[in-house]
Symmetry: none
Subunit: 404 residues, 4 copies
């Protein structure tokens, strides 16, 4: 069997998505997500100009060989653009392999290791009260775990807080040219513990609570925040500091037992192998699309399992339903699953990407169709042309570029 065709489909049914579709000479097709929020067309070019020409004619069943060919053969390894492109190929080939086998992909990964995939939703509000109302809404929907973000007094905008109430969606990539926010660590640190004091007072000890710092602290600041949040028993504190300096987490770890989650921006196992092997984190949040596909992501999770680190995959709306489908096959199969982020896509997105996974009672369930159980409706996709959209930029009060 050979790969007969491969194409990149860029569509914007509410937000931009890049999808790779591979078709074999026997007519079997597979899809892979290649979306890199705000840098979509660089991945599209990487695939169109440099990857697709070498895919044509290859044996689609040789997934490992193809992964190594693209990773080592590129010479220039790692990074978000490269690894998202490789991920798209890998995901599509697993989709094809599942169809060849007549089995859902999770069966090829070892079968179901649990009944359903526990997800967490995003509750956010300008005020603490608004955020609490959102938490209540998720609890009603059956969620067992909720991430809580609120506005910070004195700051005009805050990460994770949507402007539209009741949207169940939050899209930070809100402008062709990045919008700019202003950040104050001092104000933030003073505020956050009060949010979780309210949440525990209102919702009791059972609901799992999470919070995303979004890379904005230094390790010693994160250590302080982690310790101050200890009375509220968070499931995790996410992305407390930028993580290029993996050893930087040692300092946080010395000071607090609040569990730590990191990894949505990681692209390979090398971005986190020290975080894992030194047990500096508790949840590794790498995704199928940005971390080299199912083949590589599984290796990250396997390394993590040796060191008591569980998965906690990123699952914001910037990942298409193709990525979510693939993530669920991995989630249901690995021994050390933790939590899966879940933000619902718009109806337009759901229509462009017909899929068989479903939500019930706080769990997501992968499709039982052969392959990934997700497809792209190319005609519908063509109705939504690409619209440039960028993530915001963050500055300190003195104008210094900070981490967004």
């Amino acid at each position: 069997m050979k790969i007969a065709d491969a194409k990149v489909i860029v569509t914007c049914p509410g937000r931009n998505f890049v999808t790779l579709k591979i078709v074999t000479d026997e007519g079997i097709s597979g899809v892979g997500d290649a979306t890199l929020n705000g840098r979509e067309l660089a991945v599209a070019a990487y695939l169109n100009d440099h990857v697709i020409p070498v895919l044509l004619g290859r044996d689609p069943t040789r997934i490992e060989d193809t992964w190594q060919y693209l990773y080592r053969g590129a010479y220039w390894r790692r990074g978000p653009v490269t690894m998202s492109a490789i991920a798209a190929v890998d995901t599509a080939l697993w989709d094809i392999k599942g169809k060849l086998a007549g089995l859902p992909v999770y069966q090829l990964l070892g079968g179901r290791a649990r009944d359903g995939v526990t997800v967490y939703g995003h509750a956010n509000g300008e005020t603490v009260d608004e955020a609490m109302a959102e938490v209540a809404r998720y609890v009603e929907l059956g969620y067992r775990a909720v991430r809580v973000q609120t506005g910070v007094p004195g700051l005009a905008t805050t990460y994770g807080v949507t402007r539209e109430r009741g949207a169940l969606a939050y899209e930070p990539a809100d402008s062709a040219i990045p919008s700019e926010s202003v950040w104050s660590t001092r104000r933030y640190l003073a505020h956050v513990p009060t949010v979780f004091a309210s949440a525990r007072a209102e919702f009791g000890p059972d609901i799992q609570l999470l919070h995303d710092v979004h890379h904005r602290l230094t390790p010693i600041e994160a250590a302080r925040l982690g310790r101050e949040l200890e009375p509220y028993g968070l499931t995790w504190l996410e992305d407390p500091v930028p993580a290029e300096l993996q050893e930087g987490f040692r300092l946080i770890r010395q000071h607090t037992t609040t569990p730590l989650a990191v990894g949505e921006v990681f692209n390979t196992i090398w971005d986190c192998h020290q975080l894992i092997t030194e047990q500096l984190i508790d949840y590794i949040r790498t995704t199928v699309v940005h971390a080299g596909g199912i083949t590589h992501l599984r290796r990250i999770f396997d390394l993590a399992s040796l060191y008591h680190v569980r998965s906690g995959s990123h699952g914001a709306t910037d990942l298409s339903p193709v990525c979510m489908a693939a993530a669920l096959h991995v989630d249901i199969a690995i021994p050390n699953f933790g939590l899966q982020e879940y933000m619902r896509h718009t109806p337009e997105t759901d229509a462009v990407f017909p899929h068989g996974y479903r939500f019930a009672d706080g769990y997501l369930y992968p499709s039982d169709e052969p392959g990934l159980g997700v497809d792209i409706d190319e005609e519908l996709a063509a109705l939504y042309p690409y619209r440039p959209a960028s993530l915001p930029v963050n500055r300190l009060e003195d104008g210094t570029v900070h981490n967004w």
Copy 2:
């Protein structure tokens, strides 16, 4: 689908083998090797009395769940008996999964990552000349790599040296009650470098040469031997010291660049994770049957790949053709394959275990049939009842029990 039947078959077509056969309610069967040389009936009892009762009625596609159930559920983890039993179940379930998918198992593991599996054979002789004649024979057969063992002047018997010339087989488990050998490290160390000086002089730089110390040295002795062998460019020096003390390999490593291979006696990733993560070895020789099956062995090899460690799986005749078949599916699929040991089974064994893998030009090739491509002929197996056979015991010249 459910597991409808499972049974343990003990047979001795030349040597003892323990095989687990699992049959589903849809009539699909799978086989797994459970042979533990010299301790066969303990594994058979572990399976018959404690594992098979919990397998009946389980979903055979839930391989990871079953692995965790048997590993964690036993409460008493690790060790050769436990992990061989788990391995047999895991291997049989992968065989079934491949048949369900209509694909050879290597396809479920990511597809072919290479064309064939490079193997090495065993050349041995009482004298150096006899051993060189054996090397020549392997070279003629197309082998690219040969392990060389010879008698040691002054010692009556030596590990790895068969008494029958030209046998192509060497069976150390030669007696119901263990035979006893006498060992002298001093004589051994003085002799081995001369063997490899001869081999390089006679066969030139191209042939890959290996040597097995079989756990008989201390680290500083192994360091000396490794350094003295450096001029002969060995592919590996195997099992230089007993490896319970993983950090003990640091001392060898400081002194020599001769590559090291270890692991045929390991049962889990915990027996080698320090050897791997500290890069104290170059080849990890864990096997499907003794290291928890395909599911666990793949995790060991994946960890190894991060640290420049390649696979070098044990493949002596104490592993049945079922294990060899499974090993070849793993070997062909992983990115960091190194070498596969290959000792040919007797014709009787080959008849009891009909299999589709084949040797050509120095390579072994896994079968392309669905599943593992190996089976057990139960009627034939029944003709060869179990015969107690033990590995030898080794003593120093003063009578101290030493490592065999």
Copy 3:
């Protein structure tokens, strides 16, 4: 003198026990416990089929030689089945040696290093009140140390909590096919500190309190629990996390001064040498039966003594009176004894294993008869045939296999 006979006796006077009995040509007999809860018949087969044949004719006084012969000669080292079998031989040979000497075994180990062996009992209850009533009962019985386990609100069953009130016995191996429990770390962590707050409030600072986590947390979760329990001055927190990754305990150790105890599932010194040499624990809980017998256990405790680690041997009812007798001889003789677990056997068990050790005022005292001072009544034993019984399996709320 030679070993003239050896046999394995499996009996179930309330629960299953495996006992090895060795008889010399001079008619001296010794007994060793070989019970591996839920995997009994694998050890029995290991002994019957692979060990007893090599014991016959050996000199029973060569205990060290026999230990090395079985450990190194098996080739496949370590693990619960292997080490329990070796332990049984070793224990029986020490029993014989004591009888040969006309001395209790503790005399051969160096004599009494203390007057009595401090033990701890198990107080458990569905509710905190029930558990407190049990603690009171142990205090009345003279116990100085009590392990406290309670039900967890929202969980149907909990480790260590018997369904029969006032039983003084708790047998988790309650079903031929493992029963399945559901676990919630969140609920557990929220509850445990309240138990010990009650215990200290009710019983004051003098009573030694212990708690067994039974492997169910990750290191950071254990760190949190350890810190939260600090006000209650526990003697130890037991088995906080699965311990294959010994370095994993570093993280717990950074965060809390609550003493840690580990080791009932360990089989050799290699399972804990890093825990000990890095001072990651305070009590090592290895047992005679699962850790290679008196010969090997003494070596573990000797290493521990270098690093301020004390003994804290496992002593649940799954160890027969033979093991308890042997443990007491070790306990009374070593310099770094800490605590001995003590769960009372059923009257039927006590009758099958007549023994001379006795409880008084919170202490156990080994027998002063020659040897171990324990025997097996074979005729009585024969009245209680083996009944399959398995330890439970534990699952998370989503169905993932967890540690029981």
Copy 4:
């Protein structure tokens, strides 16, 4: 002042180059190299679609602010595509800044720290004799340092060895679809020491000799090679192993004093900070174009200077004259300069990129014109449209994908 225009120019005057040209509202222009060999159009798209829109209107003098804006603002950090795009912007802004100051860029970096930039050339030959003739030619040209690569007996092709004799150029990206080579570590290791024995015998101790392993060994193999090359006093052994696992270099370092150089594939300081702070290397070979521009490269070299590590920048023909010009300004200004690689471009390339740097007597000298002293002739560039060209893929003899 504002950025009024920015454009990406892709041209192929012998090989492909991607160049960013930024023009201010005052008509000052600057150029930056964005060439990523074999992945050119992904960087072009990254710049065109995602970077240029945010550049327009920005103050071109705020180089640091722009660097942070692009690095942190992208959210998805690191990797070759991202960092090459950022490098192009940064380089162009330094060019503009120099023109604004009326000074060559090296003056803004601290001024000349040396008289000239020592370079090394590439001598290569199928045979050792051919390679020696090439070395002689470089010596005649005044070079003080020469990298030597030769064919390996038994291998059809070898890295670094051009097919055209006397070309002074070697272009590995030789085919739209990657050509495939076959590699044998065994043959290579047996051959290389003989090359340097010849070179020292023929050219004496003065000439600096270098060798590039091009990522093809494991650490222990590299350790062996480094040790065997010690008698020949190499200036450096380059890229001995793939370097994602920075700690992997510890093993090489234990065994040999042959200096090590690494880094042409690195994109940020995080790719080498452990290599540097643990002193695992001697030369850091990061480039302006792939490591984030002058701003970031200078920080890498500054860190290196703390740890006795010198610069040794990559300078193959895949970097355009724009990158070479920028590299020379850095080289002449930093305190810890080591060596600069120098492969001459084709006359067509030199014509498309008119530049003022010059070679004399083994040194390169940066231009003294304001800015970088290099430009792009857009009309000429337009005559050479992009031609797809890929770097080769390397396989082991058994077909496994290896590092090229």
